[in-house]
Symmetry: C2
Subunit: 627 residues, 2 copies
């Protein structure tokens, strides 16, 4: 019982140790014979040799006559040669077998008919002209594919042409995935409080299936030692590799290490990577069993960085090509000396350079992997990277997609997602990559050349004017264009029926009212502060003023769940959650774009979208917008 | 009936015209709802929104106690705060829901037990500390994925976390493939003369399946107009896209164009690409029907360059990322002004530069696509490229594989394939890329920096010595190492029983003896010429002296098929075909490697392989080698 000890072994060292053990024990995939037509993307387990030649007969390559070349020797305009049908020549079509006694084909265009079953030739034929000879493409007994080769579609053609109908390949490895945990429940759209939806199994399945493996996801096993151990033993009998998900750390209820140790051998527990440290490498019943951490981001990293290597060893080749790119880091990233750290980044090609923006490093945030375009590795013994540094990034999306993404940062509004959706529907090959960093964050990102456009709604307290004066103040040295977008209503969102009777900003500091705020730099926060100042209200007196959220929707979500009584946000967010809405003002939401980007195809399409009927209709459905 | 007219439309123009027509007719894929767990790699047909937030409740992020932060205000070492269990606080574990009346969690490590159901704190808690708030990862109603997005494994996690259990995706497009032709037969290992094995259907299936489509291969349709037309009509009712294979040109028996025209509309016939010109773009029953040329290489090019674009339009995204690389062309390539030409090339990274060697341009040679590493495009109106030119190549293999390939060119011997096979088995991640260009070709390739190693067996007529003097003569200025490989027996190969009673080189010029030769520059050819000279025999007197083959196996194949009576070659080739063998001499087959490459990992492994037991055993099995 109790806590076990966690190592901090370097990943490469751990993998070498583990792979050597797998090799020493002779662990390998079985083979099977499959019809060649079904063999695309399978991996040969031994060299494949042609059984017949291709062509398998000397084939006429033209419509015309077949003859013996010597019978035409000396033929010219002045000394023609006459030949007799069925004696000196026969008529043939393309693809016909060349009769044994002949060695050349003369094209029908060069044959002069003279009647009487005779023809005239005025040029000599060279031996084997217009003949596709036996073995021109493939010779019988020739090695068509070596061992450990992924069978490409064209290779299937070569195998069939070589008379190979079945091919011995490695069996697809079966990867067992065992989710564990008392709090884990199968996917549902109405989980109870305290219940966590199991989705790692589906993520891992998708990843290993792409490698050519067959995932087998077992039922959820509760946090009980015996049950977990039994599950591991069973899976190790049925699968080629087993992934035991969660409970791989050294806590009180982390039974994975003990289960693997008792069922077989645990070789490594604890790797110096982050996220992903609490990883277990073990062998049970001569099958690799890997304890994979439960946080989805940690789990994905361990699958991609370690499980993949084990699969590659078993399959005898690379599962997929690693694509990397060089990018400029836009923010300083601090890292622990003790770990090799993997940081998800967003990538964008802005003004000809690829920029990398680090994403949330929380290991529980699965959406960070959906949003991420790349993975940046910070080595062990490094304190991190400075801003502006050129970094190597492993690509998670295609470079095509990254290059053709319009990078919009700044204030959150669901309309940005709508723009992205219309871009995908109407402009194939183009994408929107967006990040919510607030209006001020957006301005600064544009200033630093990290984004093509920023969505902003910034009220100038002096002039009451929106956006232009801010753009002028912070981007004075650049030529900036303002693309007018929408007017939208801001207001207080409350539970239906407005139980706390919120009417104005002065109600926020009332006893018993729980506010939820937006982050510093967001236009909505600036609006709130402007109103508080106008009313002379001290923010200190507002419960929840420090509780910061990054989007209108997350404010609405907290109010809807009863975790806060009121928040300031746009009408469409309140409506999405069925909340009451007390309008405060109408503001202008616009995009700023450096003039130099205005002629980019994607920016032109942004403007087309903002002016489109479809955009207006969809915003009308969401409510609270005017054009 | 008769011949129809073939256009020569530019590919981009043809595609634009065709895609516009497809769009104008509203041709699209249907949609279906699938369980999210099965949705990896499917394509969203509309934006997907979260149904619930994640976390969907305020979750304690630490083991400890939950409390109201205000109740701890002012707590310090000297002014501790005392709290009562179940009144001021409750005990919680990680993942537990935070009770509504509380707003913070204090870690168990910071809780001082004082008995009586009371605890002591010496630091104030800030609101929402150690709480994963509702919507921290995902907010209900947030757009999780836009339309036309390929669902990645991590996205499945996000969808499930967001309470989405089913997702609307595009149906996998069904691609009908209709093979046609009187001479075409289903795959077999014993085709009759004049029969051609159907394998295009399997190649095309493999390609489109990789794009996420479902191939449906129909039975072979003979060259009869009505049957072909009916097949097209039927397939157009059952499939989203139809590929009609072969008969797409303008010959007498090419019915595809007429079948498509009569069944629907033919928009384009004839594209200015090579190979691939006789392509048809049509629409039947509101489904794209493409006439694909029958030569496998032409067919693959048309599928990759045109059919893919149509699939991408229908699916709303890229089927796969195009990978390209820049390489130095090692030979001049001539191209027609009238066509955009696609040339298959082998690529190798030799001495730090990527070199591209053009392959056989025959459209019927399917193995050229198996051997090819890349595809070089020579534009319309270009006469070709000069040797040494930097060219852009579309990669057909992974850059990893190309970079880790040992490039061996030179004399053919099946032992080179054995080396390649052992490399794949014993040195994961390493490959052999070989080409048969004869011993002299190998020496020149090494000299020009196009290969790491060359296999040679060159007899110095003066000294009777093998290989070293040639290497010295042609590579005198470079430091070259000779890796000793094997002694092998050369001899005359004849049909079993040696019906023509071949005993020595003097029998070759006998009446009625049909010889088959090797190409100029090959060591075997040089050996023959040396022997002929020694005997004073005029090559002109040998029937078949001009009939040149590139490998021992192709010589053996022709002798075995009775298409020639005798050829000179190595014992292993004769044995593979069960031929009689009249030994002529034993020669030395070695590898030459520039000294600067000797320390390359792959060259070290080549040496290890040549000295390995496995290599010797496999060559012993083949016969005719000594070590």
């Amino acid at each position: 019982m109790g806590y076990s000890y966690l190592n901090n072994m370097e990943m490469e060292e751990a993998l070498e140790l583990y792979l050597n053990e797998i090799k020493a024990r002779g662990i390998h995939l079985d083979t099977e014979e499959v019809p060649v037509q079904e063999a695309v993307d399978r991996v040969t387990s031994r060299a494949v040799f042609a059984r017949i030649s291709s062509p398998h007969y000397n084939a006429c390559a033209m419509d015309g006559i077949a003859l013996f070349s010597k019978s035409t020797s000396g033929a010219t305009d002045t000394t023609p040669v006459f030949l007799k049908e069925n004696e000196d020549f026969v008529r043939v079509d393309t693809g016909d077998p060349l009769p044994d006694r002949f060695d050349a084909v003369v094209m029908i265009e060069d044959v002069i008919e003279v009647g009487d079953g005779r023809i005239k030739l005025i040029a000599a034929a060279s031996p084997w002209q217009h003949v596709r000879q036996i073995g021109e493409d493939i010779c019988a007994e020739e090695m068509l594919l070596p061992s450990n080769t992924r069978i490409e579609p064209a290779a299937v053609g070569a195998l069939l042409a070589g008379g190979v109908l079945k091919v011995e390949v490695k069996k697809r490895p079966v990867v067992g995935i065992i989710p564990t945990g008392d709090e884990i429940v199968s996917p549902t759209d109405s989980p109870g409080a305290g219940e966590i939806i199991e989705f790692n199994g589906s993520i891992f399945s998708g990843i290993v299936r792409r490698w050519g493996a067959v995932p087998r996801v077992y039922g959820i096993v509760p946090d009980e030692f015996e049950l977990i151990k039994n599950a591991v033993v069973e899976a190790s009998k049925e699968c080629d590799v087993v992934l035991l998900n969660a409970g791989s750390s050294a806590g009180r209820e982390d039974y994975s290490a003990r289960a693997i140790s008792e069922a077989g051998d645990m070789l490594v527990h604890g790797i110096s990577i982050k996220p992903g440290k609490p990883t277990i490498l073990g062998i049970v019943n001569n099958r690799p069993v890997i304890g994979v951490p439960g946080y989805p981001v940690s789990g994905i990293i361990v699958i991609e960085m370690m499980v993949k290597r084990i699969m590659e060893y078993l399959m005898g080749l690379s599962c997929e090509e690693e694509k990397t790119a060089s990018a400029v880091l836009v923010r300083k990233v601090v890292s622990s000396l003790k770990y090799k750290e993997y940081v998800r980044v967003k990538l964008g090609e802005v003004g000809g350079r690829l920029v990398a923006t680090p994403l949330d490093r929380g290991a529980g945030v699965v959406t960070s992997f959906v949003k991420a375009d790349g993975l940046m590795e910070i080595p062990l013994n490094s304190e991190g990277y400075e801003k502006g540094r050129e970094v190597r990034v492993k690509l998670l999306k295609s470079m095509d997609e990254i290059r053709n993404s319009l990078v919009i940062v700044g204030s959150h509004d669901p309309l940005v997602d709508v723009v992205g959706d219309i871009m995908r529907r109407n402009y194939p090959g183009e994408y929107v990559s967006s990040a919510h960093v607030g209006s001020m964050g957006g301005i600064m990102a544009v200033k630093r050349g990290e984004a093509h456009a920023a969505g902003i709604h910034l009220l100038d307290e002096e002039t009451g004017e929106y956006n232009t004066s801010y753009a002028r103040r912070y981007l004075g040295n650049e030529n900036i264009c303002l693309i007018k977008c929408v007017k939208r209503v801001q207001g207080f969102m409350t539970a239906p029926g407005n139980p706390k009777q919120i009417k104005s900003v002065s109600d926020l500091s009332r006893e018993g009212v729980r506010y939820v705020n937006r982050q510093k730099g967001s236009g909505t926060r600036i609006l709130l502060d402007y109103m508080l100042k106008g009313e002379g209200i001290d923010p200190e007196g507002i419960y929840g003023y420090e509780r910061e959220e990054f989007t209108h929707l997350s404010v609405a979500a907290l109010v809807a769940a009863g975790s806060a009584d009121v928040g300031l946000g746009i009408y469409s967010a309140a409506r999405a959650y069925g909340l009451d809405f007390i309008p405060v003002c109408e503001e202008q939401y616009d995009f700023i774009v450096p003039e130099k980007f205005m002629e980019l195809k994607m920016v032109r399409h942004l403007r087309e979208i903002l002016e489109s009927r479809e955009f207006k209709e969809r915003l009308d459905e969401m409510g609270g917008y005017r054009f």
